[in-house]
Amino acid sequence: MTPMVGFLARRLFYLLPVLIAVSLLTFLIASLLPGDLAYTILGDQATPENVAALRHDMGLDEPIWWRYLGWLGHVLEGDLGRSFRTGQTVLQAVAERLPVSFELMLFAQIIALAVGVPLAIVCAARSGGPFDRFMTGTAFGMLSVPAFLSAILLIYLFAVELHWLPATGYIPFTEDPIGNLRFFVLPSLTLGLAEWPGIMRVLRSDMIAALQEDYITLAKAKGLKPSRILFVHALKPSSLTLITITGINIGRLMGGTVIVETIFALPGIGRLLVGAIGTRDLIILQGVVLCIACGYVLMNFVVDMLYAVIDPRIRHGHA
């Protein structure tokens, strides 16, 4: 197990500076604001005295690196700030909405995998044939259809024309599981449809490459069942890239939830972000961006760990 622990330690070592860099970047973006934060907060109550007082209160008159350290200190204590519109702390707001975004991302990823992986396997097994060509063409075309386009198409089809599914709305799972799932169908489908082509293309090409390797010829020479050769001998080495793609997808999914939650009115973190932009609630904005970015870094870290589980060569430091 020692090589595994060493691998883990090395990865954690890289994690820290990345998180610090992310926090710095977030802080710098927030300080880009032309004009004055205090001004914006006070709105029409902004007299020169009030502004000066608030600035002093918020520490805005201090040098930037000092402010950064101060802010970072607060963050590490768990204090990401408080919305001056709603009075809620950032952490409260995020915690409330995290389950919604998480549910959306989870369903979307499941749909994307459930569609992409089987198609990739079938296409790789029959590569060059008519089905393969058709599916590859379709996947390519779908790459030009972004989430917001699929969204309006699905809404038009299922909500406006057929009235099968609701276009917007949300009920917590704990209150009404069926209702909750109904509200999630279209959004998850939208996001899943945007992600499956990427998954399918990558897994397919990896499997085609794997199927040309010598070890597949030997597996055939051993007289193993074709299904075993496909699913064990070819799929396993190819799944590494699949994990990479799933990892990269998380960033895309996060961006996607912003769009999808806004379109379908799901009270998730994405919508929180967009709402904060709309109301110029800049404290919330800064805090939410920090949370999302850190979450992204951590998820990538988890994906890295999964690598080691799948590919023993990486575990032993060989690959």
């Binding site: 010598d214 070890y215 007289g223 069942k225 075993r228 080495p237 799948i310 023993p312």
Partner: protein, 331 residues
């Protein structure tokens, strides 16, 4: 042909369509192999020996076309259904490839790669299969076999990996084992060990074996018969001692001369064969070796020599100017 032959290849030809035209990788090859005997197939790279082995194993690339018959144990392999063929594998036909680093799956354990064959063909349960796997590893000379089962190919040395590949091939007691350049990817010091292991197991199990190599030295003393291939054809074939003592093909003579020997004076230039093998997409009218042969003449360039029998019935050669080598030049 021979009713006793385990393997009988009849007029086999392999055609590969390529961008530059049709490539005849194997051209009218006839071979027979009796049960328990060893055949060595020798030739330069590109002479078609690997394609021939793939043709016998029915593992040709999708685009390749095979004509002729491959009779194995009374059945024509070219006419078998995929399912019947699959069942035949491992239990009748097994193979060891050249590079165990690429022929073993890097993400599956040694144990899995051993037991899956056992479980597929012998229908053993996991416990029995694991026990058999350990026995096999012991038989091929791998120390600490139980540990190896959970290890991955990259954790073993090259020689050990090839031993594992051999263990896999032997696992279901095949009637014929084809070893395609089994030692080419290994260190020189390991080569003899692996060849000895193959020979030993072959004798023990009364298995027929085909060793494919570019090195005449490998087949000397380890095979019953040798077939020499050049440009897709068998140009000479004879029982091994007969070939080494009485070789008739200039090409075989040249191959033998190209083997470094212990008794040559130091710094002697190695007599390599000048020129290169012909382009397989452009079939030649005359003998394929003629451009590089020092005995060649007009007839050789105009007409293709056919295989004919020599003084000993089992010895065949295809040449218009056969040489008679009386002195034995053992490797």
């Amino acid at each position: 042909m021979n009713a006793q032959a385990l393997l009988s290849v009849e007029n086999a030809a392999v055609d590969l369509p390529t961008a530059r035209g049709n490539l005849r990788a194997v051209d009218s090859v006839d071979l027979t192999l009796a049960p328990g005997k060893t055949l060595g197939i020798v030739g330069e790279s590109g002479c078609g020996k690997t394609m021939l082995s793939r043709a016998i194993l029915q593992l040709l690339p999708k685009k390749a076309k095979l004509s002729g018959r491959v009779m194995f144990d009374g059945q024509d392999l070219t006419r078998l259904s995929p399912d019947a063929l699959r069942k035949l594998r491992a239990r009748s036909l097994a193979v060891v490839f050249q590079d165990p680093m690429t022929s073993l799956n890097p993400v599956l354990t040694i144990g899995t790669q051993l037991t899956e064959t056992l479980q597929e063909h012998l229908e053993l349960d996991t416990a029995t299969a694991t026990k058999r796997a350990v026995e096999l590893l012991v038989a091929v000379g791998i120390p600490a076999p139980e540990q190896r089962l959970t290890q991955y190919p990259h954790q073993l040395s090259g020689g050990m990996r090839q031993r594992v590949a051999i263990a896999i091939a032997l696992s279901c007691e095949p009637k014929l084992l084809i070893a395609d350049e089994p030692t080419t990817a290994l260190d020189v010091t390991i080569q003899a060990q692996i060849l000895d292991l193959l020979a030993r197991e072959q004798r023990r199990r009364h298995m027929a074996m085909i060793i494919i190599t570019h090195d005449l030295g490998v087949v000397a003393g380890r095979t019953d018969e040798v077939a020499v291939m050049y440009a897709g054809r068998v140009v000479e074939c004879a029982p091994t001692p007969v070939l080494f003592k009485n070789m008739h093909m200039p090409y075989t003579e040249a191959l033998l001369a190209a083997i470094p020997k212990l008794d040559t004076p130091p710094h002697t230039a190695l007599p390599a064969i000048s020129g290169r093998p012909p382009d397989p997409t452009r079939p030649m009218k005359g003998c394929s070796f003629a451009p590089r042969c020092r005995y060649a003449d007009g007839r050789c360039q105009g007409e293709k020599p056919r295989l004919e029998r020599a003084a000993t019935a089992a010895h065949q050669y295809a040449c218009f100017h056969p040489i008679k080598l009386a002195a034995g030049a053992g490797a």
